[in-house]
Symmetry: C2
Subunit: 211 residues, 2 copies
């Protein structure tokens, strides 16, 4: 694999257009390359990775460039991991007004996440309560068993996320994994849930294609 390249090669390697790369450089999302001539710079593998990370944030995570910048800045600034997680999470989470969720929904969530030590303003708690409200309004009862099983699975996934982060060496690499994992983890889980549902449905109800 090429490890030192011109901007045109960086474009070819990543699939990002020259205009996009120059935009990332201008906005400070991408570190400037090493100057090799008055009007030329060279780039390396770190630039390739960073471009793919930006794309993951914007294309998969749906972040705006300004939000991606905030998350990237968190990686580059050696913040404590707890803060890096907070910033990555808040970037990919909708802000929920605590007043917009009702006490019944909050109670359902609090029962499911009892013992986690989440504060009343925890964004995940509020977002989960909003889903519970939508679920109830769509005529689906408050199935505390279903919520509790989701919470248990979420706990397992979060532990896997944290173990993955711990396996990285150095704060910058850990923060990168926090950011990429937070954004791509949602998409990964949703995809695997689809496959698992398909597998379980066929096992329980049979394959409609074979009827």
């Amino acid at each position: 694999m090429v490890s030192i390249m011109k901007i045109s090669e960086l474009s070819h390697e990543t699939g990002a257009t020259l205009a996009t790369i120059k935009f990332y450089l201008r906005e400070g999302l991408l570190h400037v390359g090493e100057r090799s001539a008055p009007n030329q710079a060279t780039y390396g593998e770190a630039h390739v990775r960073r471009i793919h990370m930006i794309r993951a944030l914007t294309d998969v995570g749906g972040l705006s460039v300004a939000e991606a910048k905030r998350v990237i800045d968190a990686i580059d600034s050696d913040l404590p991991l707890t803060r890096a997680f907070e910033i990555a999470q808040s970037a990919v989470s909708e802000h929920i007004d605590p007043e917009s969720v009702d006490a019944e929904a909050l109670n359902t969530v609090d029962s499911a996440i009892a013992g986690w030590g989440c504060g009343p303003e925890d964004p995940g708690r509020l977002a989960a309560a909003r889903v519970v409200m939508n679920f109830r309004r769509a005529g689906q009862g408050a199935d505390s068993g279903w919520f509790a099983r989701y919470a248990e699975a979420a706990r397992l996934v979060a532990e896997a996320d944290l173990d993955l982060v711990e396996s990285r060496s150095g704060l910058a690499a850990k923060a990168e994994t926090v950011v990429v994992g937070t954004v791509l983890g949602d998409a990964l889980f949703a995809a695997l849930r689809r496959s698992a549902q398909a597998a379980s449905t066929v096992r329980r109800y049979g394959d409609p294609g074979r009827k």
Copy 2:
């Protein structure tokens, strides 16, 4: 709770504007009310539930009205549950071109979901492989342990989903739960994962607010 209401009361009860309700009626997303006078119809709890379901599909699931219609039609047409799942899933999933994912990413996914019996065109499998590719490109190694733990959690959640569906009486109610659960389940899991990450991060690394 009011169980028979005029369209204005239906609007008040659901928060949907009169224009929106008339649009849903015209597009066939909502069953017409019972005619009570030449120019008046009455609506019931089923209409309230249906409006909230449409909103869950469009606002939370991000479906277009045309996609929501396709999903709603699946509920109204007594399809086998396997088909209802397929339709709900395909509505909330991006279509992935099998040619766009590489063999290495597919292998990673196949190892994680071994024994599930998913076919090569399974949309969840392809979507998961795309995430694996994005993950690798963003400089994150192929962490088969992380993927496997996600797969195991997804299996638990899918079983919870199917148990929830089975708890409903009648095919129409089951299909409603399939649709609502498929769409809202992603949002619920993502929210709970945020809370679980926050809880695990504080437990492992301490609370930055208390430093």
